[in-house]
């Protein structure tokens, strides 16, 4: 294929458009988070003066009075615990589906897919009622349980796709070479499975981190309110100031680490997001 300079120009424009489209909201959030209050309404994309006051106000007052620290701890804690449980349960299930023959395999996969299509709003009312009766309303566990249910289909599908690619006969080969079954599993299979497990963990974590519907329906205080829910209920310094600056700063704090993480592991995430998407 001949590559004319016209091709280069066209591709450069296409690529630049995609990059600008993806980056604008992030740069914009960083911009408003750095604007001092009096410059907030200047309608400029690039701030003229830079101030870190919005960030300071997020953490002011320590853990008890800051509007942001507790939700941040809740978000991280709930997402990590859910990810750990979800990955363990999904690994067992995916191992069985990828490696063993048993009736009910297709039913489990179809059921997982059906749950992925399930509208979460349909479970919010019953859960709200049940959690209040069981004392799970406004607790970490009250969010971990629905997150587990709705993240398992994703984790199972990603793991089954990865596990099907593992050359399992290596396990027996290692045992023939004198390894114990435990050594064969930990030294041969675990390293081969680790990338898939890690990928599934990233996707589940992002899923929990992103949820808003359960977070505002099943919590009522900082005891378990996560960042997305807390952002929706942020108030300004006084009732006369809009919380725009603090929301932007909080948004940047929860966004930048995830973006850095996503970019570092982008190959794995793309593989995970498209794993088993279409069979060739």
């Amino acid at each position: 294929m001949e590559r004319s300079s016209r091709d280069y120009v066209l591709w450069t424009i296409a690529i630049a458009l995609v990059v600008i489209f993806a980056l604008i909201p992030v740069l914009w959030l960083i911009s408003i988070s750095l604007k001092p209050p009096e410059a907030l309404t200047d309608q400029k994309f690039i701030p003229a003066d830079i101030s870190f006051d919005n960030y300071k106000s997020l953490f002011e007052g320590g853990i008890d009075d800051s509007p942001f620290i507790k939700p941040l701890i809740n978000s991280i804690g709930i997402a990590l615990i859910t990810t750990a449980i979800s990955i363990v349960l999904a690994s067992f299930c995916a191992y069985a589906i990828a490696r063993l023959e048993f009736p009910g395999k297709r039913v489990i996969l179809a059921g997982a897919l059906a749950i992925a299509m399930f509208p979460p709003i349909s479970t919010v009312g019953p859960l709200f009622d049940m959690w209040r009766a069981l004392g799970l309303y406004d607790t970490w566990l009250g969010l971990i349980i629905p997150y587990l249910t709705f993240s398992l289909p994703l984790a199972i599908y990603v793991l089954v796709a990865f596990f099907r690619e593992i050359p399992w006969e290596l396990e027996q080969a290692a045992q023939v070479d004198g390894a114990t079954p435990f050594q064969a599993f930990t030294k041969v299979i675990v390293p081969l499975a680790a990338p898939g497990v890690f990928t599934a963990a990233i996707l589940v974590f992002i899923f929990c981190w992103n949820d808003f519907l359960f977070a505002i329906s099943l919590t009522s205080s900082d005891a378990s309110r996560t960042v997305p829910a807390a952002l929706a209920f942020f108030t300004g310094e006084s009732s006369f100031t809009a919380p725009t600056g603090s929301i932007a700063a909080a948004a940047v704090v929860v966004t930048v680490p995830i973006i850095v993480f996503v970019l570092i592991f982008q190959r794995r995430i793309v593989a995970g997001l498209t794993a088993g998407a279409v069979k060739g």
Partner: protein
């Protein structure tokens, strides 16, 4: 001996799957049954003493209200427009990622950014951008300086759809790219030799061969778009007739604590989602078993 082994293999498989299956059913199967039961009763937590079985009257109340049909129209409108734009844009981005003679890595890196951002955060970013007070959008050329985007129903929809498209197009593009790479490149060479133009190659080779991938991507995105909640809640809270059906359900259940009416709305949403999936699978022949849950 062999059947002994198959039997133990089965038992092991079931034991390995049981915890995940139970966890998945716990918060779906039981609550949906409970939602159906609640929807047949007069349950209002503000008046806990009243109540009792009322048959289908919650459903008739919802289905004969203008609010439900307004919200249903809003939801379908947002769903159809955003999924259509996502398909075109996602296909364009997938083609850029597939065919670019340089810079593929940069494109892939940047499309993952919207995927990593919390939907609520993205909604705030676009809300601030379009707000007449803080936003930069009204400062752009061709856009009236005083445009109050959230002051009208359809201009609010425009911003809501834009935020939804921004957040979910990357997922669409990645799914379409996965379908694109499975096409045999020799087909393109043969068509080129036969004198087919780039457009002919796209419509005669790419689109037909990608039909399964497109249908699966459309099914998942359509169902996801029908559940639209976060963006609307942040941007308008449903003001000026911009509610979606999920916002209606939330308002009835959590804000007004009317579990009976709210559950009727929930069950109706469940039925709609089921019907959409049914139409895709039976009507268009989407091969769902080749699909996968969305991120």
């Amino acid at each position: 001996m062999k059947s002994e082994r198959t039997r133990s293999e089965r038992k092991l498989a079931w034991m390995l799957c049981a915890p995940a299956v139970v966890a998945m059913l716990l918060v779906t199967a039981y609550p949906i049954v409970y939602a159906v039961i609640l929807s047949l009763q007069d349950v209002d937590l503000r008046f806990p003493d009243e109540g009792g079985f009322v048959g289908l009257s919650n459903y008739t109340a919802v289905l004969s209200s203008d609010l439900w049909w307004t919200d249903f129209f809003n939801t379908v409108l947002i769903m159809v427009i955003s999924v259509a734009i996502e398909l075109v844009l996602g296909m364009a981005i997938a083609l850029v990622m597939y065919r670019a003679i340089f810079g593929r890595g940069v494109v892939r890196t940047s499309v993952l950014i919207p995927y990593g951002i919390i939907t609520v955060v993205a909604a705030f970013a676009w809300q601030f951008a379009f707000s007449p007070e803080t936003g930069f959008v009204n400062n752009l050329p061709l856009i009236p300086d005083e445009k109050d985007w959230f002051g009208g129903r359809f201009s609010s929809f425009a911003v809501i759809i834009m935020a939804e498209v921004w957040k979910t197009t990357p997922f669409m593009a990645l799914l379409l790219l996965a379908g694109l790479v499975t096409i045999d490149s020799q087909l393109y060479e043969a068509a080129r030799v036969d004198g087919a133009t780039a457009w002919q190659r796209f419509t005669r080779i790419t689109l037909p061969l990608m039909k399964p991938a497109i249908l699966v991507a459309l099914l998942f995105r359509t169902l996801d778009a029908f559940r639209v909640f976060d963006t609307i809640f942040i941007m308008t809270r449903g003001a000026l007739d911009t509610e979606s059906v999920s916002i209606l359900g939330y308002n009835q259940l959590i804000s007004r604590l009317n579990l009976g009416l709210g559950s009727a709305v929930s069950v109706l949403i469940f039925i709609c989602v089921f019907l959409i999936a049914f139409v895709f699978v039976r009507g268009f022949g989407a091969k769902v078993e080749e699909g996968r849950p969305g991120g």
